[in-house]
Symmetry: C2
């Protein structure tokens, strides 16, 4: 369900955040679904409970989950809501990247070609699922 790359330069708690967001955005986790408890997930991933707690706290701050003392942690954002937020973030990244591409004089056609190729490849990969 959740995979951690311990060799990555990205902190573990950030990987957990990204991972859970992805589970929500892909529909695996739905609103009000219960997340694994802090201690349980810590044991599964063989990491310290404090690290899980840090990830959950940040997810709660962002409104992705909510936590109830004694009850557990639950999904607090719908697929659509989170998807919209993340789409906006990605499009901002795209704009920044496009600026760099322009300044390095990469032709607009070439940018389109890369996007086109990725989209086609992704479509193909979906068929072979």
């Amino acid at each position: 369900m959740i995979l951690i790359d311990y060799k990555s330069r990205k902190p573990i708690y950030e990987q957990i955040i990204d991972n859970i967001k992805h589970l929500v955005v892909s529909g695996v986790l739905q609103r009000d679904d219960q997340l694994p408890s802090v201690r349980q997930l810590a044991q599964e991933l063989a990491i310290n409970p404090n690290t899980i707690q840090k990830a959950y706290a940040e997810l709660e701050r962002q409104g992705v989950i909510y936590s109830l003392k004694g009850r557990g942690s639950f999904v607090g954002s719908s697929l659509q809501e989170l998807r919209t937020v993340q789409q906006k973030e990605l499009l901002e990244q795209l704009a920044a990247l496009s600026t760099d591409l322009y300044r390095l004089q990469v032709p607009q056609d070439e940018v389109y070609a890369v996007v086109q190729q990725v989209y086609e490849q992704q479509k193909e990969d979906e068929i072979h699922d």
Copy 2:
């Protein structure tokens, strides 16, 4: 010539690397042009010489500059060479970002529209230089 954002989460030595690469790619610094000395640049930017040395060492490892003991450090890569390398890096970033955009179901048209808008805006900005 070189600006450092001390509040950035990006390490200073990485900012220096990016900054010098940009000066080469934009044609301000040309092949065999001499760079400021380690101590001189350290004084200008009010940072430790070791930090400059770290940046220069990495730039030399990448072939962007070369250093001669007792002489100084010089640009070792032509505008075209470095531009090609950086274009390739950016296109790889674009491919990765496109994969995320596809997975978040952002329509291809919308991706194109953002790129288009940035390119047009950049062209306009150039006129008003």
